[in-house]
């Protein structure tokens, strides 16, 4: 393990890999966004979720390997029924970001999230425009209203909120207005992430987004129910099948087996090959 830990430290120091472990909690989602990487929707037959024990085990092992933070994504992460309690546990181990569409935050759910207050756990909520119709065109009916309802409630409970905007069609003025909006909500510029649509998953059929080049994304070990992948934009789904081109390892438990193969794949990357497009 110490040899592997040294190799991880070297990979991070040389800019060949990131220090975050990504976990795909589920491929299931209550929305069906037009640019979704994973073709997630309420209708998918195979939800492919990680179980709670597997997630916690991966986080513990990632920490032993020298990774320093966790990202949890999907699908809609809060479709996983036990996620709020698991987040509190994971947040005790390492700083955590969980990506969510924030449309499932009922009062009961917010109560279950209360233990996250003051912890190093941030909810990264998707919002693509300051205009409801523009946002909802891509993210579904009433999405804007639900997000704007949820954010103050979360912040008032002392839960950290970040905002993620996926860029495809927005004008500069629209993005500027969105920034004005998030500042007015109490979300700083540092907590606003903007990235372009990536032409994988559902975005391929709709001819949206930019092709992903080999050096566009910093490799970060990404664990899903289908295996471990090179980065969080890798385990995409097209026509119901998971793309395997960026698969690193089918075996994800124990995590060191997947990490060994991840290091094998990233060893060929040039030192400092961070990112061109800075997609994270």
């Amino acid at each position: 393990m110490s040899g592997l830990r040294d190799a991880v430290a070297e990979g991070i120091a040389e800019g060949r890999m990131g220090e975050r472990l990504w976990l795909y909690a589920t491929y299931h989602c209550n929305l069906a966004c037009s640019y979704c990487l994973t073709e997630s929707s309420p209708q998918i037959a195979d939800r492919r979720h990680l179980d709670r024990a597997a997630m916690l085990e991966a986080v513990h092992q990632a920490q032993e390997l020298g990774l320093t933070c966790v990202g949890i994504t999907g699908g809609e992460t809060f479709m996983v029924p036990w996620l709020p309690e698991a987040l509190a546990e994971i947040g005790e181990i390492m700083p955590t970001i969980v990506l969510t569409n924030a449309t499932l935050f009922t009062d009961r759910m917010l109560e279950r999230l209360q233990p996250l207050a003051g912890r190093d756990v941030a909810l990264q909520i998707s919002l693509d425009s300051d205009q409801p119709s523009r946002n909802d065109e891509f993210r579904g009916p009433d999405n804007f209203a639900k997000v704007l309802d949820a954010i103050p409630k979360l912040l008032n409970r002392g839960i950290r909120v970040r905002l993620a905007t996926t860029v495809e069609y927005q004008t500069e003025a629209e993005l500027a207005n969105l920034c004005t909006l998030h500042r007015s909500l109490g979300i700083s510029d540092d907590d606003h992430v903007v990235r372009s649509v990536v032409r994988r998953g559902r975005a391929v059929a709709r001819e949206m987004g930019a092709e992903l080049g080999a050096d566009d994304v910093l490799p970060e070990l990404t664990v899903t129910a289908d295996g471990a992948f090179l980065h969080p934009f890798a385990p995409t789904v097209r026509n119901g099948r998971t793309d395997l081109d960026l698969l690193v390892s089918r075996q994800t438990r124990p995590l060191d087996r997947a990490m060994s193969r991840f290091l094998q794949v990233t060893a060929g990357l040039p030192s400092g090959a961070d990112v061109v497009r800075n997609i994270r």
């Binding site: 099948r241 395997l244 081109d245 698969l247």
Partner: protein, 171 residues
Amino acid sequence: MPLPEVDEAPLLARAFYRADGSASALTRSFAIAAEMMETLMPFLGQIMDESSIDLPTKELVIMRVSQLNGCVYCLAAHRPVALDADVSDSQLAAVCDLAGLDSLSPRERAIIAWVDQVARDASGVTDALVAATLDHLRDDQLVELTVLAGTITMLNQYCTAFQIPPPGGGL
């Protein structure tokens, strides 16, 4: 069974594609289980490449076992390999059409008798058959030969079960 092209294949599997990006249908079918390839491909290389047993003998065995198991893929894929290894048309006819082994040498006939028994019913191997085979092979060569026959049977079953398309089309 998906047969990914090199740019669709898992990263670890790409090392097993040729430099020009091509690969046999069998290799491509393995690609979705890339970790298995890390041990399987060197194993197959060790078993099927020339060793203490010469290549023509190995190819004769591969063709014979594939014929017995009715593997369309392996027969089509290995016929040109056998010819390249200086296996003659008459030798191929002897092992593939099952019409008779008279054109083969005594050593080749002994080897075919051994692999026939192993492939058809390994429990039917007798001490006399072992002794007869060891008249032509060292004991280490008999071990290799038997592992080769078993490996080819495994590949025959795999290719047939998944209907791996043979070179030149079909299936």
